[in-house]
Point group: C2
Chain length 159, copies 2
DNA sequence: ATAAAGTGGTTGCGTATGCAACTAAACTTA
DNA sequence: TAAGTTTAGTTGCATACGCAACCACTTTAT
């Protein structure tokens, strides 16, 4: 067991546990911020609404790619959000396999109140961090993403 | 909708989307690495095994605290791992409410093969990043964690 | 044109996760 | 010591996620 223990301490020096811990805290913080402001949205739902506000009517496979989700996951996420009337599917006329996804009025309304909350969350959690350090961190995260991205499953185009 | 769109672009300048994207990629990479090496472990299970290898026989609430998990989540994680015979519960004799969790022989074996895989994953995803930038990033993540940690639910002690 | 290959979406299955409600046990306090 | 409070763990409920299998529709190749 000695060997195992040795490697265990190696891990602690890497970015891995920090990334995990930080994401956990951040996720909790976001969930909490939404709840405190009576915004009935999960992080995943917010991300999706935001993408649709940027570009509406995307096909599900495009949304899956953009949001780094499995298409199965996206199917269910959209279904949940359709139940909540935040988005709705519209079958494509040119390609019968495709669904286009549109944000609803209600979706826009919720996004409108959710957006400043997220902006506030961001300024909170980045407090006391210099712009240079933020840039360095973004650069590092980008590099990690590239290192890890060797021919992934998400080979689809963004459109 | 103009206002909404404006804030949307603000978000992109922050660390938030980068953290999300990077974690997603990393999680996929780890899952894949385990699968390629025929290691039947999830990330959560690995983390737990590792904690137990560092200190065996912890109570569930301590493990929950250490691993940043809800105690309910931990209950189920342990149950899954008990089914896989990676760990086992042992009721405390001094406090009948408490379960101590121990890693099994099988758990140690799997951890032993899983560890070098994770070490390799780490060196892969950190490739091309200078030690200084890694330190800066850790510092930033630590700061975020602190910013976000205002009197959390995990107020228990680590033991 | 027809068979083969590829694509978009859904569903079954297993896993993980948080919150709230609950039970049993321990601790505090009047 | 009895009542009230806190703590450890479990369970119901809801969300999210990936993989694999599958169906229907398209596109490609022969």
């Amino acid at each position: 067991m000695q060997n195992v223990i040795k490697n265990i301490n190696e891990i602690e020096k890497s970015l891995l546990p920090w990334l995990g811990r930080t994401m956990k805290g951040l996720d909790f913080y976001i969930t909490d911020a939404f709840k405190r402001n009576n915004i009935n949205l999960t992080k995943a739902q917010f991300i999706l609404l935001r993408r649709l506000a940027i570009k509406d009517g995307l096909a599900q496979h495009n949304l899956a790619f953009i949001t780094d989700r499995d298409k199965a996951s996206l199917t269910r996420l959209i279904s949940t959000m359709e139940r909540k009337e935040l988005v709705h599917r519209k079958p494509s006329r040119s390609d019968k396999r495709v669904n286009h996804v549109f944000i609803t009025e209600k979706g826009i309304d919720i996004l409108r109140v959710g957006m400043p909350v997220i902006i506030e969350v961001i300024s909170q959690f980045q407090q006391g961090i210099s712009p240079e350090d933020i840039q360095t961190t973004i650069k590092v995260l980008e590099q990690i993403r590239n290192n890890v991205n060797t021919e992934q499953h998400w080979t689809t185009e963004t459109t």
